[in-house]
């Protein structure tokens, strides 16, 4: 094998080393300050593109799901609106007692009174916008048959009203009539 013998002077060795150092610096600067950041930004942008494309494709299914849900929830929405409409605007204490008075008057039971016993929010998270009101309804004089009819009508007309306590006392002076006290709780929209 032929060997090539290169004789380098000290000056030449220094220059070679200087060139080598220059090469190392060039490579370092190139990768650290030029190609590296460029690749980083490229990778970031590719990631962003993938993310956005995923979002866009998912959004189509989201829109479809919502449209389906809208159709499915039609009954519930109508029912919810109807239940909500049972609570008119304003403080319940302003409109509920007159409503009860008018209702029992329409059932031939006069002198009905309703007073607020207490009110409290519901514990259920689904009913965060609803309040429970407890009312004491007193009917000082009613006959049993009219009372039964009136209670049936009340329970049908007020689906969110539930009678929790019911007391009937015969009037000692007039046994044909009874004195009725009811405690009814109602669910009403927070206003």
């Amino acid at each position: 094998m032929k060997q090539i013998k290169v004789n380098l002077s000290k000056n030449q060795i220094q220059k070679i080393m200087l060139s080598g150092m220059g090469f190392v610096v060039l490579v370092y600067v190139y990768f650290s300050f030029f190609l590296g950041p460029l690749n980083n930004s490229r990778d970031t942008m590719l990631g962003q593109i993938t993310e956005l494309q995923d979002k866009v494709s998912n959004s189509k299914s989201e829109l479809t799901k919502t449209a389906k849900l809208e159709k499915q929830a039609e009954t519930a929405t109508n029912r919810f609106a109807a239940l909500k409409a049972l609570s008119p605007e304003g403080a319940p204490i302003a409109w509920f007692p007159p409503r009860m008075k008018a209702f029992f008057a329409s059932q031939q039971i006069d002198k009905a009174t309703a007073r607020l016993e207490n009110s409290s929010p519901y514990k259920e998270t689904d009913l965060a916008n609803w309040m429970r009101y407890s009312w004491v309804i007193e009917l000082p004089q009613a006959d049993f048959a009219s009372l039964g009819t009136a209670i049936a009508a009340l329970e049908n007309a007020e689906p969110l009203l539930s009678i929790t306590r019911f007391s009937v006392k015969a009037l000692p002076d007039d046994p044909q009539f009874q004195q009725i006290t009811m405690v009814a709780s109602t669910a009403m929209v927070k206003r």
Binding site: S19, R42, L63
Partner: protein
């Protein structure tokens, strides 16, 4: 052979030395390498610009869709809220105890020789209904008249409700005599406790058939 004398050998040597200068060669190599690197960088930069335009297109597409998606999300949450609230409210409505049918049943149980003086009913927290009835019964055997009322009440309530219990709380004869249909009849005062539920309680699970164990 002619003698060839090179009188400029020193100059030529120096020129060759200059041409073989490692620094010069190194600088040339570095320059070449730098040019290649620059080309590669420019190629990459061009690609990055292309990606950037794709990104801006994707951002544009998303910005078009985003308001719709946000709106759909809101609407979806709202609808789910409405559905669950309506479900809870419907549960409350269905779970109510209706007093009117109970009063109707009670009225059927009271015979001519009995009079109810008070009725107190409460819907308990566990869903049970507790009723306390007080009244007067008259007859040759006023206690029997009260018992008849109790049994009738038990029968009537048993037709519509579950776990019906109707028991006497008190039953005592009174000294008072009352005239019914022209006949004098003795009286008794009674108190009845009735409890029942509107829903059937869940039955306890029955044990399954015994499995044969193979040895």
């Amino acid at each position: 052979m002619a003698l060839h004398l090179n009188l400029l050998h020193e100059e030529i040597f120096e020129q060759r030395q200059r041409q073989r200068d490692p620094l010069k060669i190194g600088m040339m190599v570095l320059g070449g390498l730098g040019a290649l690197m620059l080309l590669y960088y420019l190629w990459n930069a061009y690609k990055v610009l292309e990606i950037r335009s794709r990104l801006s297109q994707a951002e544009h597409d998303w910005s078009k869709v985003e308001p719709k998606v946000t709106g759909a999300h809101k609407r979806s949450a709202e609808l789910n809220g409405i559905i669950s609230t309506t479900k809870v409210l419907d549960g409350m409505i269905d779970g109510r105890f209706f007093w009117a049918p109970f009063l109707e049943k009670l009225s059927r149980c009271v015979a001519l020789n009995a009079q109810l003086t008070s009725i107190d009913g409460t819907v308990l927290d566990d869903g049970k209904i507790s009723i306390v009835i007080e009244g007067l019964a008259a007859g040759r055997e006023p206690r029997a008249a009260a018992e008849e009322l109790r049994q009738l009440l038990l029968e009537q309530l048993g037709q519509s409700y579950q776990e019906v219990k109707v028991e006497f709380k008190a039953l005592e004869d009174l000294d008072t005599i009352v005239k019914i249909g022209g006949a004098n009849q003795a009286m008794a005062r009674f108190g009845i406790n009735a409890t029942f539920t509107t829903q059937v309680s869940k039955p306890s699970p029955t044990p399954g058939p015994r499995m044969k164990v193979r040895g």
